[in-house]
Symmetry: C2
């Protein structure tokens, strides 16, 4: 009998002893980090809400109760009963019964009304029919990504359960080593931006944090070094957020034999899938052979175990993970690792925004304990201060008004995820408040899809924005001014020839995508203002236009090769960034509770990490490091 | 066709083009770091001494010429011819013909006379008989270790050649990576003394430097971490010297799948075998199960490729190794690694003695290039200054005289390798010069055997000592006063009951071995002086006696359990150390040519490495580090 089986046997008898005799326990297993209790008396569990809470507290585990099939009300009867319990205003769009697990997945426009006060409606459902309800939100804007992910996971339920059981046994295995240490190995994004990847290791456990690409370069994380191998012996992958410089090469891990879990937030899982598939698409369009097939993206999604902000999750015998809001993009996280029983704590900042933005609350920097912080330093340079957000917004409003007065269009190249939604919120509010005239706002490229994903997960947005979406039905993303460009060139031509409008289009650095087509339509129009709201990297067309080039090469487009003479105005509005600036980074560390002993400054160019590392050392008297790639630091 | 075969083909045609038509080349292969040229015309090669030298220079390889069997004078005729060429005074004790390689191994008391001026006698032999002579020294004191190693290697010739061919192909494989970096991973002996072990790695190559135990502890190097695995993919092991805290666990590598070469000096190979077998013996006697069997020690010896001081040796496609005298014990080395084509240079000090001692020249610290030095710090503490050697010697002489005057014995616990021979030289000289009276000097335990190995390799001893052994037949180790205790308890009893004498016996810290027996015979004798000449570690009986204990527990001995009351005098004579003191360590770095940019201070307790690291930083403005175990540093 394996040690995990012994452990489960002991837990089963503890549970049986704790529960009243009338409640049966037929089996106890692990699924991923959770302990699953099978019973013939699901209704009794639902009637005694404290039972599970008490067991969870005593066993220090997350617990799921699962009914045995024979204790369930048959599906047809159950369907009517469930709909009867849920208030109509919840607007249920789908009920999906899974007999294997006794779960009923309820998709509703208002999940809160399905859940009820402190989960009362959910318990009511189980009391009536025995089934365990699971609630998901009906996306208020239809997102093909979300619906694809959901139907894919539904189709793969069985394999996914096998994976979770295997992972569960791995997590709860006995500790083997008497030794104690904590190490971090840098596989990328040290003294550079891009290819974020780290290994956190103990004598028991190895965890990969992020696995990104490096934009504008073929460099990949150093996955081939012994510290990362064999990949299939890694215990877990933790993904801080979906941007490709953190996520692009995660599917590659599965190609090379990794078969374990990915811990991340649910929106990050969906955005990751969207961006990885786009990454393959772009590679194919540019004639590069992509490093993996789309099947590997599906593997990644299938192996993802979603974690909510603040939930303490066992991911290895000696490691607990907690994700916290990082304020950077939807679902972005600061990853906190608690190692051993109070032995050591490490936080990886991922990419952060310290102050609140229109979209997100500021990054969390309050933890029970932290000894070492691995900290992004993108804008860590001594002069990396950004314009105040209010000033930036006013400047954008001025540009829009000036352009509208001329009768022209505002053409904004923007990244699909994050920046676009921020601009949408600014423009929607300005229009609502009458600070700019009413006019259509066209969204081209992946922006619409990314926005749909945002509005599927309002819990991950800033408090007041979430409340507007939840309670007041004032979802700003549903404002009628927004138009999704979905009819291709014809629609674009019509818009280009028409009245004043605002156009947001990818790619954000004018390196491809529909913005190229907009440029060919509007580039010769002196009334149009091309407005840059994000960083334009060296070597991109965006940077060239920003720098005043007025002849740009146009390959393809509507069959026209050659060059295009730009007549449009060019404006740059700074200050819309998903990253904390130097002050924000410093504030994150300064106000961090508790203040870490050591800080590894990463994810910034050489100058930024050196500046930031030395500033933290001098101003706050911490031990700071500016690691190189391929180094290993030992703590304790 | 593999790339190595292609490479050999190209080399073969280069060689054929270079050689006169009359000299045939039948095959070209690699054996370890050497290029082997097979020919039917060995005599022609011998007649044209410059041919091989020119080829070696052009190809930048070490070259061995091997005759095809059919070009050789038959063994019986050849034996007479060889003996005819060699002067009688060379005192040949053995001729061993190996038809597979066309080599004849000549064991002689005077190898120099077999070699002749600039190798003239060797060439003469080949010119006459075609065979390639290889010369080894007849040990002037019979060493069972040396003779066992030699006969074992003779018996394993065939397998050894297979190993060398395999290693040769590995060394000369094509480089695969475009990447360039150099890393050092610490597996042991950081902020501690013991379990020395490091990995030097590049994108191509991983080399393990040392693999020792930690005396007084069960701690072993961190061989289980991914950086060291799989062990069979390590390219090479380099051993700086034979002491167990550097060599004890090398046989374990073979148990765990390593099957590659060990590069070290020839005397280190022999001493390593001696000490490892003793290590197993001690473990067995103490009832511990040893970590490996003696068969693994034989594997280690079989896989050793001896390297001479100063020889630049290819050990990987991108790494050249050169060993230099370290002055610490017989065969001890500073290991210098030249990486890439001028890309980077790292030196590992191993254990060093900076100043000349009676036995050895001081450590070499002159290199073509060195960017990083990994430096021992045993006596790196701010107060770790040792007594001047002349004062120490005088003190020892005084103790001997005082004891002799009382009619007693001087009982010296000493380590078999190094310390004992140093004391032997002091005492022999003092006696020769009349500074102490003539009396027998008894050598007990492994001391005699270790001394025999020293006198087999006079090239590795201090210049003037070597010259005395070579040229003047004044081998001090052969002085008639020295007596090897080889008749056990009876002999000891007789000596203990007899006239004044000096007794050197292992173990050096009175933790076991024949010193325990001497203690039981002489412990109650007030005329005996127990004289400590080496460091006594915490917790050893030696340290207790040094501290004034006069009741010591005696387990076993001549059947007597219980305690022994000590009546003998106890003296400590400092200053006989194989290690540089703080001044010596600093001088090694200060006068090093070139001065390294970075120094990793290792092999010292926490205080010593911190003191030494900070002193080097402040006094010489170098980047210094005091690594922990399990860290990885990247250079370039």
């Amino acid at each position: 009998m394996s040690t995990v089986d012994k452990q489960l046997d002991e837990i089963a008898s503890t549970i049986t002893n704790q529960l009243p005799d009338r409640i049966s326990v037929t089996d106890v297993t692990y699924e991923g980090p959770e302990l699953v209790i099978y019973t013939r008396d699901p209704k009794e569990f639902a009637r005694n809400g404290d039972l599970v809470r008490n067991l969870a507290g005593q066993l220090r585990k997350r617990i799921t109760v699962r009914p045995e099939p024979d204790s369930l009300t048959p599906e047809a009867d159950a369907r009517a009963a469930v709909l009867d319990v849920i208030p109509d205003k919840a607007d249920v769009s789908e009920l999906d019964f899974h007999e294997d697990t006794g779960e009923v997945v309820i998709q509703a426009a208002k999940p809160g009304m399905v859940i009820g006060r402190h989960g009362s409606t959910l318990r009511e459902i189980t009391k009536k029919v025995g089934w365990t309800p699971e609630v998901v939100r009906t996306p208020p804007i239809e997102s093909s990504t979300v619906s694809n992910v959901r139907s894919f996971l539904k189709q793969e339920r069985e394999e996914r359960r096998d994976i979770l059981e295997r992972v569960g046994r791995q997590i709860h295995r006995d500790q083997m080593s008497d030794d104690e240490w904590v190490r971090i190995t840098t596989l990328g994004c040290c003294r550079e931006v891009g290819r974020a990847s780290f290994i956190l290791s103990t004598p028991e456990t190895r965890i990969l944090i992020d696995c990104g690409d490096k934009p504008g370069s073929d460099d990949t994380p150093y996955l081939q070094i012994p510290e990362a191998n064999p990949l299939n012996s890694l215990d877990a992958v933790v993904l801080t957020h979906a941007h490709l410089d953190h996520s692009a090469l995660i599917p590659l891990l599965f190609k090379y034999g990794y078969d374990g879990p990915i811990y991340t937030t649910e929106p990050t899982r969906d955005l990751m899938g969207l961006l990885q598939l786009d990454y393959l698409d772009v590679a194919a369009k540019e004639g590069r052979s992509p490093p993996y097939e789309s099947a590997m993206v599906r593997e990644a999604v299938k192996h993802t175990i979603p974690v909510e902000y603040g939930d303490v999750t066992d991911i290895a015998p000696d490691v607990k993970l907690t994700l916290h809001n990082a304020g950077h993009i939807l679902g972005s996280s600061v990853a906190h690792f608690h190692i051993g029983d109070g032995y050591y704590n490490v936080a990886f900042s991922g990419d952060i925004h310290y102050d609140d933005t229109r979209l997100f609350n500021g990054a969390v920097n309050d933890f029970p304990r932290v000894e070492t912080l691995v900290m992004e330093s993108t804008y860590g340079g001594r002069n990396d201060y950004q314009t105040d957000q209010a000033d930036s917004e006013q400047r954008l409003i001025d540009v829009i008004n000036e352009t509208h007065d001329k009768g022209g269009k505002v053409l904004i190249p923007a990244f699909a995820v994050g920046r676009s939604q921020e601009i949408m919120l600014v423009v929607e509010e300005a229009m609502r408040k009458g600070e700019i005239p009413e006019m259509p706002i066209h969204l081209d490229g992946m922006i619409w899809e990314a926005t749909a994903i945002h509005s599927t997960y309002p819990e991950y947005l800033r408090d007041d924005l979430r409340d507007r979406i939840f309670h007041d039905d004032e979802n700003p993303f549903l404002a009628p001014q927004f138009n999704h460009i979905d009819a291709g060139q014809e629609e674009r031509e019509e818009i280009a020839a028409g009245d004043p409008a605002i156009i947001l289009s990818t790619s954000g650095m004018v390196t491809g995508g529909p913005i190229m087509s907009w440029l060919s339509h509007l580039g010769g129009d002196p009334d149009t203002t091309m407005t840059f709201v994000g960083y334009q990297a060296q070597g991109t067309l965006g940077r060239r236009i920003q720098n005043g080039w007025d002849e740009v090469p146009m390959n393809g487009g509507r069959g026209r090769g050659g060059t295009l003479s730009l007549e449009l105005d060019v404006e740059t509005v700074d200050g819309f960034s998903g990253h904390a600036d130097r002050q924000g980074l410093e504030n994150f560390v300064k106000t961090m509770n508790p203040r870490p002993e050591k800080v590894l400054c990463v994810h910034g160019d050489e100058r930024s990490v050196q500046d930031f590392s030395s500033a933290l050392y001098h101003n706050y008297n911490m031990r700071t490091f500016a690691p190189k790639n391929l180094e290993t630091f030992r703590f304790k």
